[in-house]
């Protein structure tokens, strides 16, 4: 089953939650909705499920218009960030509930529930109530309920956000494997770029209710078509620098002059925004062509094997992620280097300008 979102928008009162959006999600595909909180991930997901009616546009399943179909009649499964189960039913009854509604024979239900429980390691807890379980077990119960339904569209709304990291890693690997095997359209929202990269599949980046880009996850990461996409898909945040190109020189607002990287020399003279990913900064130049920036340290965070160095460069606040422990004193001046082929360049409208060959290295 494929899902098409056709010019769908959602307006509540005076707020536009989703700007007109058109997407096609293929059967058996894994789609990650990536965006900050309030970007509209959940709104878009609710429209896909049929929990909310779109203000304009249509939702098509396999080419059939289902916009007016109530959610009960669509074959959807959804898992929320908060662990949502029926507290008054046992874990077994929770998992069996969508099958019971469908009126399947008892034996089939029993077999399916036990299979799902086995897969999600819930077998010993089947007789207990959801609230007697740990958070991770509660979420696995919700996942099992979504799984037994064999839905055509599986929506997971930040399902791992409230779990401890060990369980997240474990489930993050298993979830796509469990669900995509069924041939369902699988949609997964997350606020973390890293999670999107780990899940793979396709990524849809969202920003303020607008889909900024959709495509293969790695491709979106490597070739963000807009500055917004690059910013959404970067953690720690993307570092930016406004420059004006004049002949073969780049001038910053404060008057610093940089040599224009070779690949950007063919661009017309105009103002541009340069973007650098935090991990592309180095403390030592790797070649004489590297761009050099003189910066001031504001905060250093150490994470065992890496250092997050928060910096001030002219008016911009930057973050550099470098390997090893570098405990610079606050306010100390350091010079950072970026290889010219790792510079993203966006024009005034925020459109990607670097030639694609360059971004290969990213």
């Amino acid at each position: 089953m494929s899902l098409t979102v056709d010019h769908v928008s959602k307006v509540v009162g005076r707020d536009t939650h989703i700007h007109p959006t058109t997407l096609t999600l293929a059967a058996g595909s894994l789609n990650v909705l990536l965006g900050a909180t309030l970007a509209g991930k959940t709104s878009l997901m609710r429209l896909m499920a049929g929990l909310d009616k779109p203000t304009t546009g249509r939702i098509l399943w396999q080419g059939q218009d289902v916009t007016a179909k109530p959610v009960q009649e669509r074959n959807v499964a959804m898992v929320y960030q908060q662990f949502i189960n029926y507290p008054s039913l046992s874990v077994y009854e929770n998992i069996a509930s969508p099958l019971k509604i469908r009126g399947l024979p008892k034996k089939t239900i029993q077999a399916k529930v036990h299979e799902a429980a086995e897969l999600l390691k819930l077998t010993p807890m089947l007789k207990r109530r959801p609230l007697e379980l740990s958070g991770g077990q509660q979420q696995r119960c919700a996942l099992a309920r979504a799984l037994v339904k064999e839905a055509d569209l599986v929506l997971l709304d930040e399902p791992l956000a409230n779990l401890d990291y060990k369980l997240r890693e474990e489930l993050r690997v298993e979830l796509p494997r469990i669900f995509t095997a069924s041939g369902a359209v699988f949609v997964y929202t997350t606020t973390e770029p890293t999670e999107a990269l780990l899940l793979g599949g396709n990524t849809i980046t969202l920003h303020q209710g607008q889909v900024t880009q959709m495509g293969n996850t790695l491709e979106v990461y490597r070739y963000p078509q807009t500055l917004t996409t690059a910013q959404v898909f970067s953690d720690p945040p993307l570092n930016t620098l406004s420059v004006t190109k004049q002949n073969q020189l780049l001038k910053t607002l404060k008057g610093q002059v940089l040599a224009c990287p070779l690949a950007l020399q063919t661009l017309p003279d105009a103002p541009y925004t340069l973007g650098f990913r935090p991990h592309h900064f180095t403390l030592q130049p790797s070649s004489p062509h590297d761009l050099a920036f003189h910066t001031q340290v504001t905060v250093v965070e150490l994470s065992g094997s890496e250092s997050f160095i928060h910096l001030k460069h002219e008016e911009e606040r930057w973050v550099a992620l470098v390997g090893g422990i570098h405990d610079f004193p606050l306010g100390s001046a350091i010079t950072l280097y970026v290889a010219p082929e790792q510079v993203y360049c966006f024009n005034e409208q925020g459109k990607w300008m670097s030639p694609p060959s360059l971004a290969q290295a990213a």
Binding site: A49, L51, P70, V71, Q72, V76, A77, M78, Y80, Q82, I84, N85, Y86, P87, S88, L89, S97, P98, I101, R102, A142, R145, K149
Partner: protein, 281 residues
């Protein structure tokens, strides 16, 4: 080791405990004294009540209770009261459940004003409504009927029930509703199978409050009835004017009037506090 520890701590604990105990006992005696005295009186004869001061019945008698249970003018009062109170509780909850669900789940024009306005119905003294109800009921034939009193009490109990139930319902995440719809539950099936068990304690507390307010309300119940639906409290006040005062029977009736409330309170004892906070704890 452990014995040393307990022996050194025990004396301090003991003296503090007993001081707390004294205060508690005094308080309990203070609270229970009127109730004890009522029970005490109900087991005495009228002569003993009027002639001597005795802390417990000298001549224990159950005649007062026997009289109430055999005399139709007495026991019919209980039947009448219980009939309209139960009717009222059932009507109030049936009406309030969907209303409270709407207030807790949907946003509509003027919802907050309407919700508050409901509560203002409780702010007027019942006496204000006695006259219009009396005239209205007389003209439509609801005067002196159980359903009439039950409906009159809905005026106070429905708003209260809506407020309490809304509090309990808002404590249930909306996502549970949506999960049920996604699973394929129809609204009615979700409401009865999933939702009502979740707020069962809320329904219990609401039932208790409706029961209690309707049970103790006297003014409307007395104004709107004459014979067929006369409540027990009205029966009790009217015996005063009969040949003297029948203290013993009156006390027994009082004891019997307390019992239903005590029974209901027992079932919802764990949720009463939340109910007094209108479900918002």
């Amino acid at each position: 080791m452990s014995t040393v520890a307990t022996s050194s701590i025990a004396p301090i604990k003991k003296s503090r405990f007993s001081r707390q105990g004294i205060v508690m006992t005094v308080y309990l005696v203070f609270l229970l004294l009127p109730i004890y005295w009522l029970i005490n009186m109900s087991l005495k004869t009228n002569e003993e009540i009027l002639s001597t001061f005795s802390l417990w019945p000298q001549h224990l008698t159950l005649d007062n209770y026997i009289k109430i249970f055999t005399d139709p003018s007495w026991y019919s009062g209980y039947i009448n009261s219980i009939t309209y109170v139960v009717l009222n509780t059932v009507i109030s909850i049936t009406v309030a459940l969907p209303a409270a669900y709407a207030f807790s789940r949907y946003r509509f024009l003027g919802d907050k004003h309407l919700f508050f306005w409901l509560l203002t119905n409780r702010m007027a003294p019942p006496a204000v409504f006695a006259l219009p109800f009396f005239q209205l009921y007389s003209s439509v034939g609801l005067f002196d009927t159980h359903i009439g009193v039950a409906l009159a009490h809905c005026l106070f109990n429905v708003p209260l029930a809506v407020w309490i139930l809304e509090g309990f319902m808002s404590g249930v995440p909306k996502e549970i509703d949506e999960t049920a719809y996604i699973d394929g539950y129809s609204f009615t099936r979700f409401f009865t199978r999933i939702f009502m068990p979740l707020i069962a304690s809320g329904i219990g507390v609401t039932a208790f409050f409706c029961f209690m307010f309707s049970w103790v309300e006297l003014l409307l119940a007395r104004t709107l009835t004459s014979v067929a639906a006369k409540p027990i409290a009205a029966t009790m006040t009217r015996t005063v004017s009969a040949s003297g005062m029948d203290w013993g029977v009156l006390a027994a009736a009082g004891v019997l009037t307390i019992i239903p409330g005590a029974l209901v309170i027992w079932f919802v004892r764990n949720y009463i506090a939340k109910g007094f906070a209108l479900g918002r704890v």
